[in-house]
């Protein structure tokens, strides 16, 4: 058991501190210094001596929180909002009578996009890295993008897919029209597949046709095909394969040089063993050249001709766009489940950034507190 005597402490402190004399002249020295200091124009920079109400700290806290939230939220929303597919894929699901305006911004360093030119649809293209930029409106200006893409020996591989719904008894005639489109545009029909349905068997006609047209006519073909029936979905993609193309060319050139050198060596070789050895190397090089040349030819073909796959179905065919037509409680139940799943998904998605934001906020608060205290000390303590 120990005791602490407050009165004893007070008495002892007073006896210890009150006994010694104060230096003479100290007050006058301070006053002299004060008079000197009065002539200088140092402006006070120390805050008022008032008890902190927490308002300043709250403001700083709020500002820090806003900064952190913005720092996390903006990139997050940008990442979610931007459609930066690796193949610069653009998908459009069209209503039967598309109206309004749609603008798509795509930033892709390696791929180019050709506008599809939907009716009543305008798309803005901004390609930062492939030196292609342009505005596509109603499919007419897409040609300028194409022209730009071909400048400078750019190689662009374009593919597309369109799903058409055609009216009753129009299936066959539409197939014929699609074939005409391809041949008129300088292309050809790569393949076709169809199934003819009859009313008697209660089945619908379905089929698909693959059209290939010169790359510069691709947009026009897409536009023509879209109007051949009711386009329920249009997907087009374009990939810039210039780098791959140039790389293949360079490798082939290098191998050809090597082949020429080996041929020169062979002319100077007299021994059978030497000739066989050089021949072996030549065979290997030749094989590589042919392999690369094949790839180059394929790439050349793919970039020369664009491919459009058109799938056709008669109106009423149920596989076009599967939609849930439930009503009443069933519909509400499904929507409820969907909402719950979406909520859980959202929570999981936001948990990571939120945790990061909290950690960042904690670090900022710690840093701010340390800085604040260091500043207080540096200022010498007023306020």
């Amino acid at each position: 058991m120990t005791t602490f005597d407050e009165e004893m402490m007070t008495r002892a402190l007073r006896e210890a501190a009150d006994d010694f004399p104060i230096s003479e002249g100290a007050v006058e020295r301070i006053l002299d210094e004060a008079r000197d200091a009065a002539t200088s124009n140092d402006s006070p920079r120390i805050r008022a001596f008032i008890q902190r109400t927490g308002r300043v700290q709250s403001t700083l806290l709020g500002a820090a929180a806003c900064v952190v939230v913005l720092a996390v939220a903006v990139p997050l929303f940008n990442a979610e909002g931007a459609t930066t597919h690796p193949n610069a894929l653009r998908v459009a699901h069209l209503s039967p009578a598309p109206i309004g305006e749609k603008t798509v911004n795509v930033h892709s360093p390696a791929f180019a996009i050709a506008g599809t030119g939907f009716q009543n649809t305008s798309g803005q293209l901004a390609l930062t890295g492939s030196t292609i930029s342009g505005i596509v409106t109603n499919g007419t200006s897409s040609q300028s993008v194409k022209a730009a893409s071909l400048d400078g020996s750019l190689r662009v591989e374009e593919v597309g897919a369109i799903h058409l719904t055609v009216g009753d008894k129009l299936f066959q005639s539409t197939l014929t029209r699609l074939t005409d489109f391809a041949t008129t545009d300088g292309g050809f029909v790569a393949s076709t597949q169809s199934h003819m349905g009859t009313k008697a068997s209660h089945s619908y006609s379905t089929g698909s046709i693959v059209l290939q047209v010169p790359e510069h006519n691709f947009t026009m073909l897409v536009d023509q095909v879209r109007h051949a029936g009711l386009a329920t979905s249009v997907v087009t993609s374009a990939a810039d394969v210039t780098g791959q193309y140039v790389d293949l060319q360079a490798r082939i050139s290098a191998l050809k040089v090597s082949r020429a050198q080996y041929l020169a060596i062979m002319t100077r070789t007299n021994s059978i063993g030497g000739i066989l050895s050089v021949q072996e190397q030549l065979n290997s090089i030749q094989s590589q050249i042919e392999q690369l040349q094949g790839q180059l030819n394929l790439l050349n073909s793919e970039t020369t001709y664009a491919t459009l796959t058109v799938s056709l179905s008669e109106a009423g065919h149920p596989v076009i766009t599967p939609t849930h037509h439930a009503r009443g409680i069933d519909k509400a139940w499904h929507e409820s489940l969907h909402g719950f799943a979406a909520g859980v998904e959202w929570l999981i998605r936001i948990a990571g950034p939120l945790l990061f934001a909290l950690l960042l906020l904690a670090a900022l608060l710690l840093f701010g507190r340390l800085t604040w205290r260091a500043t207080e000390r540096r200022r010498g303590g007023i306020g």
Partner: protein
Amino acid sequence: VSDAVDVDELRTWLEDGYSSSVRTAYLILGNRPDAEDAVQESFLRAWKFRDSLATGSSFKPWLYRVVVNTCNSKLRKEIPHRNRRRPDDDLDEVAMEEDPIGRVTLSHDVMSALKDLPAHLRIVVVLRYYVDLSEHDIALVIGRQPGTVKSRLNEARRRLALHPALQSEAPDPTSNTFRKERQS
């Protein structure tokens, strides 16, 4: 004219509070030269920034805050990097020549225990038991919440009660009113 008036104001401050401030600083810092140096610096600084004293605020805690913070600064920056103080300036070198009733011995023991306290605890003890400030005013002086002051005071009391220099101290029968017991 304004400066002259202000200097007169400073003179009033000094006459009212210089001595007690030096003694307070002495208890915190442990030696007189440092204490006088800190208080002179504090008064000049306080006078220079006298406009920062908000209307309606209490002057005494404000001035002590300046003094305490200057002492803190010295404890952090100057004194640890300096050679040992002169022995006659140390707290535990209080003169003991005339001590008929043992009061200097008591003072010596308390000072010795006080010197062993960390600075942040020593400051609250000095402000509470020497300057006689309330916990609320001490909170203003050191820029912490009253709860922190209370906690520090409790910790300081606990340490002082356990200090060897105060263990042998005979209980003072006249101090029943303010006696507190602490379980070790």
